[in-house]
Each structure stands twice: as structure tokens, then as C-alpha cells.
């Protein structure tokens, strides 16, 4: 039996986060809105209505096209009609780009765990409108048109992925990129990023593209991984038992973690595509395109490399700090304000700031505590004006109150106590009130010194300079 490798291509549908829908003025995002509340004559396909293109959709799509370094953003692309009957498709056709899509070619590089990079080619990017949603009740279908006309960008990869893990990695990188560019919230659970996977297998070493199956309706990255894994296993079983792979369309049942056959490819409808006569071609001005290219932000992988080089960060740190764009910007601003070792800033951010971000369910860019505050706070810890544990608490206090760290330290008297005279008289008191522990120490068990330091910390609510306290106790106890 030969060994098999799998060949995977992904078709993703990206919901662009424009204010309004692609062809009318209705609100695009209907998450948690009541059914049929964001609708109008245009998106419900009343007789006589016409679509008009929302230019923000084109701008956002072009941003992604440039970010994946497409071979070309087509100077002229067209919309077509994809004709089919379905109750949640109110016009009886979906307006979608078809033979002349917005952009062609391009790639996304995936760093693999072994240090190599998998280049995933992008075949095309095209714009289309979403259909509505059908909810099946017993013997009834309820239709919600809110989603009709929500802008989607379809991006199709070449058959370049080799494992279910790589497919998952691709989606993670794509999601990161979409959020980085600010063009989609890319939440798979909310349908903002949808993925169909084309899967086939072949003996290792072969270059053939064999008959593939298409897995639809998978709504999380974990499920994409599981569904592809299950399908690869099924195909291998099928071939090993002498069977043949047929071009099925499969549906992933999340509850049972199994695949169902939806239909054979042969029975697929003829959509009778033709150019949409109600819309003009999408014209891309070359000067505008160059402006867009210039305005493209540094991308996550570039920034990660730069952080490693510029700030001498370990790769692990750099990866985490560039996971999300505002986090990476937060880091740079903090480093600039801190004027010290960037690794110290990195430690604070990875341990404490990320905890704060997760607890608050927010992003770095939306925190109340500013990079300048964080820098000030770290500087106080470094200068031993406050203790590290005070610093951690201070983070929350700044976020909660909006005051500067310095103001809070002053107002609450959180400054570290390094006044030797004051600490010495406190130490004398502690020694006088605890003769048993003193006897233990003088009896030779000097490790009890820590206990004395602890008592001091209690007295000073943690603000005492620990090294100084140790020195004082050691001197006093040696004498007694």
C-alpha cells in the first residue's frame, strides 16, 4: 500500500465589515437583530428595484487583494447573475462576480512548525452578495432577509495545503490578516468567515490532482480541521478497499462530528450566468490603486520579523505581540516611551497586559491604560519606586480609574518604603514581640529569616524594600 498525502484547497467567504450592505443602504451587520429588521425594497427583491454598488466594499476588498500580493487588481471587473430558485434568495438570482473577478493571483505564506514556509497561492478574489437565512420549523420555513445583500468577498486558494493542520493554520493567518486590515471581524461562529474545503488524496510523490470532494458549512477552525481529517481518512479507506472517490459535496454535522453527502457534483444546477445589466463594471483607477498600496500597513509577518530584529525579542514573544495589530502598536509605543530593555516591556505585556485584555474582552487599542502609562509603570518598578506586585495591581487601577500610575501611587501611598530608620524601628518591634522565632534563629535555623521579612511585608502592606528588610533583620538577629 502506498502512503497517501492529501491535497486541500479552501474557498473562503469573508463578510466585509462595511456599515451598509453591498447594493442598498441597509445596515450590514444584523447580529442579534430581530429577523427582517434591516431590509428594504432593494435587498428583498421587490419588483422594479435596482442594485447600486457600495464603494466601501470595493475599497476593503482591494486592501486584502494588495495584502495577498495579487498579480493584478483588474482595472475592469464585472458582476454577473447566478440564477437559481430558493426562498431566501429573493431576486431568484445572486449578484456575484464570475468570469471577470476583482483580482487574480496572489499568495499567503504560512510559517510551519518545522520552520519552513508553505506558500498558499490565491487563485482569485471576487465580490458577491449574501443570501438570506432559512429557519426550518416543523412543516414550515421561516425566512430572514436581514443577511440578503451583506457584502462577501470570496477568496479561493490553489490546491496547496497538505494537512488538516495546515488548513487550520491558513484560516488562523487569514483571520489575523482580515482583522489586521480592519476589513472583516472574521468571527467564524458569526458567519463572518466561512470556509468550504476541497479535499483529495494521492500517493506521496505524485503530482496528480485527483477527484475531490467539497466540504461545506463548517463554522469554526476546529471543525474545519476535524472535517478535513475525517474526510482524508474516509478517502484513504475508500481507495484502500478498492473504491473510487466520487465528486460529492459533503456537509459537516457539528453535533455528531460526521460528514453527510449533500449531492453529487453531476446533479449540480446550471446557474445560467450572464452579466448583470443593472450594474456598471467595477473600474479601478490606477492612481487610486497606488495610493491604496502606499497606505497598506506593515503586515503581521513582516512586523514579527522586524520586532525580532529591532527589539531583539525571542520569536515566541514577537509572534504573540504581532497576533493582533493594535497589540503590536501598543508594544512599540510602550517601548518608545519606556526607554529601556524592550524585553522587559514584552514580559509585562505578555503576562499582565494580555491578562487584562482577556479579562475585559477587549483589544489593546481599546484599553484605557495607554502605552505611556504602562511605560511609566514599568519604569517605577524598575526604579524600585514600587514593587512588582504593586505594579500588577496598579495596571488594573489605571484601567479602572483612567488616572496616571503616578497619581495613583501618590494618592494611595503605594511607594516602596526604603526609609532605613523607619524599617529598623519596625523590625525591632517585630523581634521584641516574637521571642520564639528569635530563639529558632539563634538556635541555628537561619532560614526563618524569610518569616521575619514576611511579617514586615504584612506591616507595610508589601511596600517595603525586601532586600533592605533582609539586611536589617540579619543585622538585628545576629546581635541578639
Amino acid at each position: 500500500m502506498p502512503e497517501f498525502e492529501s491535497v486541500i484547497g479552501l474557498e473562503t467567504h469573508i463578510q466585509l465589515n462595511t456599515q451598509t450592505k453591498i447594493f442598498c443602504g441597509c445596515k450590514a451587520d444584523s447580529w442579534e437583530d430581530l429577523p427582517n429588521t434591516n431590509i428594504c425594497p432593494v435587498c428583498t427583491g421587490l419588483p422594479g428595484v435596482l442594485p447600486t454598488l457600495n464603494n466601501a466594499v470595493v475599497t476593503k476588498a482591494v486592501l486584502l487583494a494588495l495584502a495577498v500580493q495579487v498579480d493584478s487588481v483588474q482595472p475592469k471587473s464585472y458582476f454577473a447573475r447566478k440564477n437559481y430558485f430558493y426562498p431566501d434568495l429573493p431576486k431568484g438570482y445572486q449578484i456575484s462576480q464570475y468570469d471577470e473577478p476583482l483580482a487574480l493571483g496572489g499568495f499567503i505564506d504560512l510559517p510551519l512548525p518545522d520552520g519552513s514556509v508553505r506558500r498558499v497561492t490565491i487563485e482569485k478574489l471576487h465580490l458577491e452578495e449574501d443570501a438570506g437565512k432559512t429557519v426550518r420549523q416543523v412543516g414550515e420555513r421561516w425566512i430572514d432577509f436581514n443577511r440578503c445583500g451583506v457584502p462577501l468577498l470570496e477568496m479561493v486558494t490553489g490546491p496547496d495545503l497538505r494537512t488538516a493542520d495546515e488548513a487550520a493554520q491558513y484560516l488562523i493567518r487569514l483571520r489575523q490578516l482580515l482583522r489586521w486590515l480592519g476589513i472583516s471581524d472574521a468571527d467564524m461562529e458569526r458567519g463572518q468567515l466561512r470556509c468550504d474545503a476541497n479535499v483529495s488524496i494521492r500517493p506521496v510523490g505524485s503530482d496528480d490532482l485527483n477527484t475531490k470532494t467539497e466540504i461545506k458549512n463548517v463554522n469554526s477552525i476546529e471543525n474545519v480541521r476535524s472535517a478535513i481529517e475525517a474526510e482524508i481518512k474516509r478517502q484513504i479507506r475508500e481507495v484502500q478497499s478498492g473504491g473510487r472517490i466520487e465528486a460529492w459535496t459533503l456537509d459537516w454535522d457539528e453535533d455528531k462530528s460526521t460528514l453527510h453527502k449533500m449531492r453529487s457534483k453531476e446533479s449540480e444546477a446550471d446557474y445560467r450566468y450572464f452579466r448583470e445589466p443593472d450594474l456598471l463594471p467595477v473600474l479601478i483607477d490606477q492612481d487610486w490603486l497606488e495610493q491604496m498600496r502606499d497606505a497598506l500597513p506593515e503586515l503581521p509577518l513582516e512586523r514579527k520579523e522586524r520586532f525580532i530584529e529591532t527589539y531583539a525579542l525571542p520569536e515566541y514573544d514577537s509572534e504573540i505581540l504581532t497576533e493582533e495589530r493594535t497589540l503590536s502598536e501598543y508594544f512599540e509605543r510602550t517601548v518608545q516611551a519606556f526607554i529601556g530593555d524592550p524585553k522587559v516591556v514584552s514580559n509585562w505585556m505578555m503576562n499582565d497586559l494580555l491578562r487584562l485584555i482577556r479579562e475585559r474582552g477587549t483589544t489593546a487599542g481599546k484599553l484605557i491604560i495607554q502605552p505611556e502609562h504602562l511605560a511609566e509603570l514599568i519604569a517605577m518598578v524598575e526604579a524600585k519606586t514600587i514593587t512588582a506586585s504593586t505594579g500588577k495591581e496598579l495596571l488594573d487601577k489605571v484601567e479602572h480609574s483612567g488616572l496616571t500610575p503616578e497619581a495613583i501611587v501618590k494618592a494611595e501611598g503605594l511607594g516602596q518604603v526604603s526609609d532605613e530608620g523607619k524599617l529598623r524601628s519596625l523590625a525591632v518591634e517585630i523581634i521584641e514581640t516574637n521571642p520564639d522565632q528569635v530563639a529558632t534563629y539563634t538556635g541555628g535555623k537561619t532560614t526563618i529569616l524569610g518569616w521575619f521579612v514576611g511579617q514586615m511585608m504584612k506591616e507595610t502592606r508589601g511596600k517595603a524594600n525586601a532586600q533592605l528588610v533582609q539586611k536589617i533583620f540579619r543585622e538585628l538577629l545576629e546581635k541578639s
Partner: protein, 533 residues
């Protein structure tokens, strides 16, 4: 015969209403009176039994929006009392082809499938006409979804009669519009022209009809037939009123991406400019019809009616005398492809445009037991659509199927480009002909009898042979009445001009009107009006 208020021109009505000489309500009452006198049985979708009396009457209105109209007329009158200007069409009675959505009115497209559809919004051009003071009297009949040239395919019967002889068709698909205007049941009407659907009925009913440049008037709210060909336009009894209405309707629209951003000239002020120095062309390809024999497919040739030929020659002489230069023998070699190309393009687009009528959201839905969704679609569409619609859907589905698409639709689009090239060359200011317009007959024949052609959809389509090219090419065309034939039926002549030359075409039409003012046929009234006091 005393002219009733409803027989006055739009220009005169607006003048009188604004000056307080007559109220908008009075004009409306006069129009409603006329409707009572000439309409006869109202068209309905109930099963139709032929009544010979129907051949005497017009039956133009599917819906008379009396109450809504009265509110509008009163608003116009109130505005005038308060010293405001209600607009250039103050109090002018308007008939809207029932292919336009008008807020709170049944908007049926002449089809059973939309019989109970009340539109929640108004079409842009209708909204603009109403905003200019026009009073919508009602929604007028048409071929079902505009698919026809005679009005006989409407689900609402009896069919519209031609005011000049109600046993003859008014033409189509804007037959209700042309008939209503000719009979004084409205002063202006808004129609649509996809292959000649404004110009052909205007010619048949002896009124003026303009198909503007594609994109000149917004299509928003026009229930689509063939989206790349459909043009809304005005119908009225003279060129001045057409100019007035077009002025109001035209212009860009944020709801229609294909509506042109070209500024709208003041058509009315351009009207009296004459034709001195204009180059007006005649083409042999518009005197002889070429068409494939329905049996053998061989190309046959046939001359247009001699009366129509004479009307065109007569007009050419008039223009020559008025200082225009007549250019003969202008080749328009691709004209005869107009109808076959139209068959393909219009049906592909129509089949797609009709997808939305599935009984799910609005309009007719079969309410009996069904096994599944597919059966609901099938029975709803089988019962909701008439035979002409089904024919078009079938053909549209067939030629756009994956295996035929390249052979039909793509090829038709290429031929369409050739047809446009004919016009571009004729109108090219640096070219050989440098035409300002092409002068042709509007139709090969005058209005035929009801029942004589209906059923032969190929023959019926050839009524549009002289008009359809402008729909392919997108350029404007104006049809004006040019006399009566030996049967006493109107003949129309047509001016075809370059893109956005509506102003010039109206000027040419107005010149023709003035120069033929005293010809005897101008005094003849449509038969349905003879004997009315």
C-alpha cells in the same frame, strides 16, 4: 366640438391651473368624465368572454386611482392658493403604465402573478412627475410584463382598443398609455420602450412618444423586462408636452447605477430652434424589411406600407424646405439583425428578471396543497404567468443554458455592437454622413386588427423591426404622428439621433408639427371621441 379640459395640452393645463383659471380638481373631474365615457368594461383577470361592444371602447385603465388623484389635485390647488409653485406639470393628468411601481397602488405588470401586489414605493420617474405637480389618474394596461406589441397578452381583459378604431390594437406594450392619451383619458403618460414599446403604440394611436437614450431616465421602480434595453419615456399629444415631461423625468438617480450623470438640458426652450442646417438622413434599410422566413429560415424582403413610405418622403420634403439637408442612401446594414438579436438578449434577461415571482414573498401564490417547495413554485408560476411570459421564460432559459450560452447570448451581444456601429458611423461628425438624425417610418404598417396577429409571436415581433435597433444601440428615438392611412388609422414617423440628442429630436419634431399644422388630417379626431360633447 368644445374642447374639454382633458383635451388641452399639458402646457396649457399647467398655465391655467397656476393662474387660477381652472383648478387641478376641475381638470381631474374632466378627465374622470372622459374615462367614464370611453372606457367601457374595465379590464380584469376574470375569465374573459368576448363582447362585441368591447370593440367600441378603450379599456385602458387597470386601476383608476381616483381617491389618490383627488388628494394630489387638492394639494396642487392648495399650493397655488398658498402662493407656492406646484411645478411645471401643475394639475396635469398622468396615466402610468402599470409596469411602474407607484406607492400604495396595485402595480400589476398586467399579470395575474402581481395582481394583488401593492407597491410600498414609487418609481423614480413617477415620483419626479408627481413632484412636478402631475396628478396620477391611474395605472394603464400593457402586454403582460410588456411582452408584446399589441396589448393582447395582458392578463387584464378586454384588451385595450385603439381610439381611432377600437377593433384595432393600440400597439404595445405601452398600448394603454398611448390609447389613454389619444382618447383624452390622460394628458401625459409614462411608458417603457424595450424594442419600440413607446414609439410603436404612439404611432398606432396618433400621439407623440419618446424613447430617450438608455440611462437618460432612471429605471428604478420599473418592473424589469430586459434590463439592458428598457427605457422609460413620455407619451403625450404633442412634442412640447413630451419635452415638458422628459425634462422632469430625466437625470441621474442614486437608485440606478445605469442612470447617466449627463446634465439635463432645457428641452422646452430648445423646441422652437427649427431645423436650418441640420442633416437628416434616409436609409434604404428602413424602407425594406428583411426577415427570415419562419418556415425556411431564408432571408426575405418586403417593403413597408406605401402610406408609411409616402409619409417619410413627405416629411423629408418639409424638412428640406425648412432648411435641413436631406442625406439619402445612408446604409444601416445590420438593421435586419435587430429582431433575432432582440429575441436572444431580451429573453435571457427576462427569464432572469422573472425569477423573483415565485409566490414566496408577494403577489400570487397557489394556496392549494403542495408536496414540496418545487411544486409550489411550479403551480404558482404555471397559473400566475400567461402564455407569452412562459414562452419568453422557456426561450430565455434555453439560450442561456451553459451549453448554448456562447452560441446565442454572447453572439447576440456582439451583433448588438455591430448595430450600434451603424448608428455611430451615420452620426459621426467626422464621418461620411454626419447626420443629426435618421428619419424613418415608426412601424411597417398601421394598427392591425385585434386578434389578427396575436398568437404568432415571431410575426408580432416584426412590428418592432424599425424601432428595436435604437434599443440595442441605446440612442434616442422620437415618434410623431404623420397623417392617416387609407383606413383612417394613424401613421407615425420616427427620428433617431445620437446619444443624448433628445433636445434636437424634439426640435425636429416640433418643426414638423408646425409645418404640418394646417394639413387636413390634423383636424380629424379619433373615432372614439367623435360625437362626444
Amino acid at each position: 366640438m368644445n374642447e374639454a379640459l382633458c383635451d388641452l395640452s399639458a402646457l396649457e393645463i399647467a398655465r391655467r391651473v397656476k393662474s387660477g383659471e381652472n383648478s387641478a380638481v376641475q381638470v381631474l373631474e374632466s378627465t374622470l368624465d372622459r374615462i367614464r365615457n370611453v372606457e367601457g368594461n374595465s379590464p380584469s383577470t376574470a375569465s374573459y368572454t368576448f363582447d362585441p361592444a368591447d370593440l367600441e371602447k378603450i379599456h385602458a385603465y387597470i386601476t383608476v386611482t381616483k381617491d389618490r388623484a383627488r388628494v394630489q389635485a387638492e394639494q396642487v390647488d392648495r399650493a397655488i392658493e398658498e402662493g407656492q409653485d406646484p411645478g411645471p406639470l401643475a394639475g396635469v393628468p398622468l396615466a402610468v403604465k402599470d409596469i411602474f411601481c407607484v406607492r400604495d397602488t396595485p402595480s400589476t405588470a398586467g399579470s395575474r402573478i402581481l395582481e394583488n401586489f401593492i407597491s410600498p414605493y414609487s418609481a423614480t420617474p413617477v415620483e419626479r412627475l408627481e413632484a412636478a405637480g402631475a396628478v396620477t389618474v391611474g395605472k394603464v394596461n400593457l402586454d403582460e410584463f410588456t411582452f408584446g406589441s399589441s396589448n393582447e397578452s395582458s392578463a387584464f381583459l378586454p384588451p385595450v382598443g385603439n381610439p381611432w378604431n377600437a377593433a384595432h390594437v393600440p400597439g404595445g406594450s405601452s398600448g394603454g398609455s398611448a390609447a389613454a392619451v389619444a382618447a383624452g383619458e390622460a394628458v401625459i403618460s409614462i411608458g417603457t420602450d424595450t424594442a419600440g414599446s413607446i414609439r410603436q403604440p404612439a404611432a398606432f394611436c396618433g400621439v407623440v412618444g419618446m424613447k430617450p437614450t438608455y440611462g437618460r431616465v432612471s429605471r428604478y421602480g420599473l418592473i424589469a423586462f430586459a434590463s439592458s434595453l428598457d427605457c422609460p419615456g413620455p407619451i403625450a399629444r404633442n412634442t412640447t408636452d413630451v419635452a415638458l415631461a422628459l425634462q422632469v423625468m430625466a437625470g441621474s438617480d442614486p437608485h440606478d447605477a445605469t442612470a447617466a450623470e449627463v446634465p439635463v438640458p432645457d428641452y422646452v426652450s430648445l423646441l422652437e430652434g427649427g431645423v436650418e442646417g441640420l442633416r437628416i438622413g434616409l436609409s434604404p434599410d428602413y424602407f425594406k424589411l428583411k426577415f427570415p422566413d419562419p418556415e425556411t429560415g431564408e432571408i426575405r424582403e418586403q417593403s413597408i406600407d406605401p402610406d408609411a413610405q409616402r409619409a417619410v418622403q413627405h416629411a423629408a420634403e418639409i424638412f428640406a424646405r425648412a432648411g435641413a439637408e436631406i442625406v439619402e442612401d445612408v446604409p444601416m446594414p445590420n438593421t435586419h439583425y435587430g429582431i433575432p438579436v432582440y429575441f436572444v438578449i431580451s429573453r435571457v434577461e427576462a427569464a432572469s428578471n422573472l425569477h423573483r415571482y415565485d409566490g414566496v414573498k408577494y403577489g400570487y401564490r397557489y394556496d392549494g396543497e403542495v408536496e414540496d417547495l418545487r411544486q409550489l413554485y411550479r403551480i404558482t408560476r404555471a397559473r400566475g404567468f400567461g402564455p407569452q411570459v412562459k414562452l419568453r421564460i422557456l426561450m430565455g432559459m434555453y439560450v442561456s443554458a451553459e451549453q448554448y450560452e456562447k452560441g446565442y447570448y454572447d453572439k447576440a451581444l456582439r451583433v448588438r455592437t455591430l448595430i450600434r456601429r451603424d448608428f455611430l458611423e451615420a452620426f459621426d461628425p467626422q464621418g461620411r454622413y454626419k447626420l443629426d438624425c435618421l428619419l424613418t417610418a415608426t412601424t411597417p404598417t398601421s394598427a392591425f386588427e385585434i386578434g389578427s396577429v396575436y398568437g404568432d409571436s415571431v410575426l408580432m415581433q416584426y412590428a418592432d423591426l424599425l424601432t428595436v435597433s435604437a434599443n440595442h444601440a441605446g440612442n434616442p428615438g422620437l415618434s410623431v404622428p404623420a397623417g392617416l392611412d387609407e383606413k383612417g388609422l394613424p401613421i407615425g414617423i420616427q427620428f433617431l439621433g445620437p446619444d443624448f440628442s433628445e433636445g434636437t429630436l424634439l426640435r425636429i419634431g416640433r418643426t414638423y408639427e408646425m409645418r404640418t399644422e394646417h394639413e387636413p388630417w390634423r383636424a380629424v379626431k379619433p373615432k372614439v371621441l367623435q360625437g362626444l360633447g
